[in-house]
Structure formats: structure tokens, C-alpha cells
Symmetry: C3
Subunit: 303 residues, 3 copies
């Protein structure tokens, strides 16, 4: 592994190895040191939360970060090509974390850069470090990745974390319950991708009825701006809201965990937070260990 671009590149063995490394970092058995490394965070599309997570992971390993958040003061404004920016930043730093609005940006960067590239989100395409932390959270709470039942709730069409997760879990015979408004369904090219033949998809089940089956409920935001018709939005938004009552009245497994990539708006009500099913804040914390694992692995610093 020279770069982390897409979950589609990563084999089951690599995933397991990465989760194992994160586990060792979390427990303190492995303490990567990257004190002689400089990592560039190039966020063409700024996101404080994701920057914080990568920046903290780097600093917890004594590494250094240089950060661009937004393109206002960058050479992009002066007409520089993306390839030239990557070539230049690659002169300064030992690894580049890149977020872009353009699909394929990270892949292209990996062809230009002399140093490892980590994709921190390219348009609605991929966000593999998020998926690895999701997988880490699933493994940690369920003890395994194999044969799990997972509801995907919310925006399954544009949510890159959903797409990455489907590919990431595809090696482990999952059952996905797809719970989404009609025009935010999982894209057909994913739903019918031959690479996903060992995945069991169950379309549009009644959410309350499937709760007893679930190991994981993975919830995402249904963004108002995805709807052409504001009325349509008002109609559907509450059908996909997770409440404490919905969970507790429908006989969940004791081990059920609710995940969310955050930020949440109102798709999970706050009364869920204090239940044992809520796991989204710990999930965010798990991001630190996974990102330490990714970066130290790519820099050859994980011993």
C-alpha cells in the first residue's frame, strides 16, 4: 500500500491488518513516532472536523502538519494546475492528505506525487479513512466483521461514506437493509456491481420491523438541499428519524450500535445519546486510531 485512495483498492487482508494496527495503537502496544515527518493537509473543501481528526492523529504521533483550508490564498487562484500544486507540496512534505470536491482528485494526485496520498474525500466518490474507522467501530463493538446485519438509513445516493462502507464490508458477507427516500436510493451501479455479488441487499424494508435483526444501524443526514421539492422534503424527513422510542419499542439486540459519520442535524434525536445503543461520538474518537494507523503505515513508521 503506497497510497489510500479508495476502498475498492483495498483487500480484505489489508483491512484486517489496518484494524489490528489501530487496535494496537489504541491500547498503547504500538506507539508510532513520526517526529521527523511533515504531513500536508490540503483541504480544497474545508472541513474543520476532518482536519481536526487528521491533525490530531499526526500530532499524537509527534508529527508536524502544514495546513491549507480553502483555496482563497492558494496558487489555484493564480491559475496553477492541480498537478503543479501537488508537485510543489510534495517537495515540502512527506505525505499529503487531500480533500477535494472533484471525483478522482486523490487518484490523480497519487500519480503526480513522490509521496503517499491519503484521500480524505473526493466529491461524492470515496472517503476511505471514514470507512476504515467505521469498520473499526463495527469490529470493536461486534467482535467481528463477518455476516453482520446493517441498516443503511438516510441519503444512500450522495453519501460517500455509505458507498465506501458498502465496498469495505463486501468482503465479509454482510446483509444491508437499504432505508432511504425514493430518490435518495443507493445508485444502481453500486446496487448491481458484480464486485458486490456476495453482498445481500434488502430494499426498502420497514425500519421498525427490521430492528430486531440489526447489529448496526448506520444513519446519515438527509440534506434538505438534495430535494428539488421542499414539500417532498418535509413529508419524508421524519420517516427517517431515529428516536429512543423507535429503538426501544422494537426489541433491539443488546449489542446493537447506532453509527453516524457526523455532523448530525436531527436524524437522531438527542434522547438516543444516553442509551447504550448510541456509539457515534466514540466512533469519532476511533477515527484518531485509524488515522494514526493509516499515516504511520504509509510512512513506514508502524513497528
Amino acid at each position: 500500500m503506497n497510497h489510500l485512495i479508495s476502498m475498492r483498492d483495498i483487500k480484505a487482508g489489508d483491512i484486517e491488518q489496518m484494524l489490528l494496527l489501530a487496535e494496537k495503537i489504541e491500547s498503547g502496544k504500538v506507539k508510532p513516532d513520526i517526529s521527523d515527518k511533515v504531513c500536508a493537509l490540503l483541504f480544497y473543501e474545508p472541513s474543520t472536523r476532518t482536519i481536526f481528526s487528521f491533525d490530531t492523529a499526526i500530532k499524537r504521533m509527534n508529527g508536524k502538519s502544514i495546513i491549507m483550508a480553502g483555496v482563497e490564498s492558494s496558487s489555484v487562484k493564480k491559475g496553477e494546475t492541480f498537478a503543479d500544486t501537488i508537485s510543489t507540496v510534495s517537495q515540502y512534505s512527506d505525505l499529503i492528505v487531500i480533500r477535494s470536491t472533484v471525483e478522482g482528485a486523490a487518484r490523480y494526485a497519487s500519480e503526480v506525487s513522490e509521496h503517499p496520498i491519503v484521500n480524505a474525500g473526493d466529491g461524492s466518490n470515496q472517503h476511505p479513512s471514514q470507512t476504515l474507522l467505521d469498520l473499526y467501530s463495527i469490529k470493536k463493538t461486534q467482535g467481528t466483521l463477518e455476516n453482520l446485519s446493517i441498516a443503511l438509513v438516510g441519503d444512500l445516493r450522495f453519501g460517500r461514506t455509505i458507498h465506501s462502507l458498502v465496498y469495505g464490508l463486501s468482503h465479509f458477507s454482510p446483509t444491508f437493509y437499504l432505508v432511504a427516500p425514493s430518490h435518495l436510493r443507493l445508485p444502481s451501479y453500486i446496487r448491481h456491481d458484480p464486485a458486490l455479488k456476495s453482498v445481500n441487499f434488502i430494499d426498502s424494508p420497514n425500519l421498525a420491523e427490521i430492528i430486531p435483526n440489526l447489529d448496526i444501524m448506520y444513519v446519515t443526514r438527509v440534506q434538505k438541499e438534495r430535494f428539488v421539492d421542499a414539500e417532498e422534503y418535509e413529508k419524508v424527513k421524519n420517516s427517517y428519524q431515529i428516536t429512543r422510542q423507535l429503538i426501544e419499542e422494537n426489541n433491539p439486540k443488546q449489542s446493537l450500535k447506532i453509527l453516524h459519520p457526523l455532523p448530525r442535524v436531527n436524524e437522531i434525536t438527542t434522547d438516543v445519546d444516553e442509551t447504550k445503543y448510541a456509539y457515534y461520538f466514540q466512533q469519532a474518537r476511533n477515527g484518531l486510531f485509524i488515522r494514526q494507523a493509516i499515516i504511520s503505515k504509509l510512512l513506514g513508521a508502524a513497528k
Copy 2:
């Protein structure tokens, strides 16, 4: 002390202890090390100066900072609640410094966060680290905090540093001379707060006449935008301007020091800078030692 939210929470003994720690840090007798800590600076209302002061304090103790300046790229824009932001950032960091335009924001954050919160300003309410550095500057230059005569000059109504300072000094029997334009006077709820019964307030004295009495002259900006009537502003602005002539012609104590929380506009003329009374730049420097004291104390790193 688990958090630093308001001067009203802090007892005289705690203040003295904090100033003593700052003194030991300044002299090099105590060298706190927080190299394994990450501090988040969440500045909803950005301020380069205050960020620099906290960031430098953290880095001089080998700590690490992650910084949000402004909300443009934050989850706030996506509709996340303040409580969720704090819960998430609290997963990444060991301490959170927060500045907000909303009164009570830091207090609320302290109820949500698992880690210490430092209030770096909440609206026109409190700014306790500024007050502690003011008290440190007073102690350092006067040898004591007890029984001092202090003129408060400028905007006493909206200036949170003024409000915090009044509470901070209230334990030490001060006399405050209140020198302000008529509609920028100290709010009545502070002026008559029973908690301030040992404070001696003297209203609207002639500034020139009281100069011989003063140990400290604390000056703040009179902001044009506080005036509904531009003519009114023009009329009063010079009445509250401190010049070298004003000081020197009015028989000041040799130990008089002029403080200002900075930035200054024209309320102290630059010819004062080279006099021995000017202390505002050293005061800014004192902020480093106080902020090191606060942070290392809250992180349990001050030995």
C-alpha cells in the same frame, strides 16, 4: 478547579495560587510539560491576538494545538448543535479553549465536555484569562493586589475585560474610579452587586485630579460603533484620551502603571509608550505566563 469559565467562580486563594504559578513559570522555576496533550482552540469569533497568545503558551510547554478560527468551514454550517460540536472535539483533544459571541457558551460547553474548558471570551460577559493576566501585571508592578486605587477609563458598559477585572479585584479591597462617557457607564447590576460590597466605587471623577491617587490606570477603547449619534462620539472621544502631557502634568506616583487590554486605537497617544508608566506591551507578554499557568493547572501538568 476543573474549568476556567468566569472570575465569579474563582476564590481569592485560587487567584493567588494562579499568579504564583505564573511567576514560577516566568522565572523558569516551574517548567510545565504538556508534550502529550492536544489543546483545541475553538474561536467562533476569531481573534488573531488571543489565538496567538494561547497557541504560544501551549507551544512553549511543548503542547500541540488544533485551531478553528471562524465557523465558515465548520459543522455549524451544516446545522450541527453546539453541544454536538463540543462532544466531538472533546474526543480529539485534552482541553478546549473557546471564544464565542454568545454569553454563557463556555459554561454550557463545560457541562458537555469530558475535558477542561477555558473561556476565552463569551460575548460581553467574561474573559477570565485576560483578567488573570491583568491581575498578574498589577501584582508584578505594585507588589500586591491589596488596597489599590485603579481608574477604569473608557467603555465600562460593554467591555468584558472591565467587568471581569472588577470581580477579580473585589477580594482585595480596591478603590475604582469610574471614568466613562455617560452612556458607557458601568452597568448598574455590577455597580450595585452585593458580591462587590467591599469595593469602593467613585463615580465620574475628573481624570486629571485623581491621577496623583492612582496605582493603576486601566484604559479601554471607546468604540465608535457603540454610539448611535456620531456627533456625540466626536464630542466625547478626546475627553478619554490619555496623553503624556496629561499624565506628567498631574503629579503621578512614580509607580503608576497604565494598562490596556489592546488593541489600542487612539485612546492612549503613542508618546506615552516611551514613558515608564506605559505597561501595555509587557502586559500582553504576561499573558503567556498566565495562560501557561491556567492550561498546565487544568491539565494537572504543573508540578
Copy 3:
């Protein structure tokens, strides 16, 4: 040397000493350590690339940076004078790197600050660290700075890197071929500066014809916004474009190197990148060693 403000201040001996130090830093013979220093980067005119280069240089020596990029959240907005800002920042930091749109800003800062100032660009005036890295790149590739033939191509009127370079090389008997659109020629006050009497200027040669003579071709952007007349721009822009064909068909020296301060737009076509003449990305990398040399020298940390 207490500050780095302008190439006009720097003697030949100082230049050579600085390049030697950069060389030792690059080879690892000298490893400056500034782990107890805080450097402020004050970029009134933000530039991600230049911030990255200084920030990386600082961090590769284990130093700490505090960064202001743009004045939006600064005290400038509240009416603070530049002198007060420098006085205050000088309380927090051990060295200040400053970029401003105002000519002379860095010089003025050096008169106010207690600590070393590094000019990272003041308007269209000077950008000495860029020039030192250019000189380092020239020395590294040509083995000497003496008696070289250098084409200056593009905007010679507003390009501060061009102006600084002319002064920097003036100690070493260079020949400059000046290749520029008619109204972007080298200013007369530089062209005829008595201080440059040992410099050989050759005006407006045919670029193809002089290629065999060149040791260095230094190319800069011709910015559209410098032209009042858009048609005029369209007419000239291609006359100053460097292509692989132009170079290879005109019998260049094997040791010719093409430099560019970056970012490039289209004044060097990308097919040049893979030739042995292209040196602009390595040139950017050389900036790290020069900036380490400058900062460690000014901080007295280069042993």
C-alpha cells in the same frame, strides 16, 4: 545580520555564507535545533505556498509556528496600527516572518520589533528569501555564481523576484538578457542603478538566438491583469512561452537550467517538465534549506 529585509543590504560574503549553511543543512552536516523558539508568520497578503515553505522549514528544525493568514480576524480590523501589531507579536515570538502588500513594511517592522524580522515579500519591492533560494539553485546547478549568463523572461517590471535576483547576482559579474513585453520591461531605476555597474544588461534579444549562451533561464508569469488592453495580452503571451521544442531546437548548453518562482500558468509548457533542463520543482524544494539557514542564522541556532 539581525534581520533579512532586502537583497540590497546583503554583501557578497553574507550571501556565500548563507548558501554554504543551506548546503550543510541539506547534506545533514548541520542540524539546527530551534525547539525552544516560536516563530510568527504574519501574512497580511496570504500565500499558501510561501507559508508552507516557511512553516515546513521551521518545523523541520523542531521550531513552533504561530500563523496569521489574512487580516480578517486581526486587530488591523479594529484599527490597530501596524507598529502596535508588531510590538505585540514581538512579545509572543522569537522571530517574525512578514508578508505585506505595502513596500517597506518589513523594514518598518524591523525598527519596532525586539526580534529578527524576515521579509517574505513587501509589495512589488523585495522577496529576499526567494532570491537566496534562487541563488542557491544557481550555485548548486552551475557550481558557481560568477560570470553567468542569465535570461530573465516575462514580467520584469512588477516581478519582485526579478528585482531581488538582479541585486543578489550583481556581486558576481552576471550577464542578464532581458526578455519582456514592451511595457513590462525592467524599470529604468534598476536598469541604470549605479550599484549595478558591474552587471552586463542586454536588452530585448531574440530568445531563440541567445539560448546557446545561457546558463540559466529564469521565467516569470506574465499576468493578464497587468495589461490594460486584452488584445495586447493575447498578442504577446505566446512570444514568451517556453516550450520543449524552443529549447531543444536551439542548441542549449547541457548544463542549462530553467528556473521559475512558481506558480506557473502556461509560460512553460508541461512537456518541458520531463527534460533535464527543468529545475523549478527542485528549486521550490531548495527553499526549505535556505529558509532553515536564514531562520537558524537569525536565531543564532546554526552551529
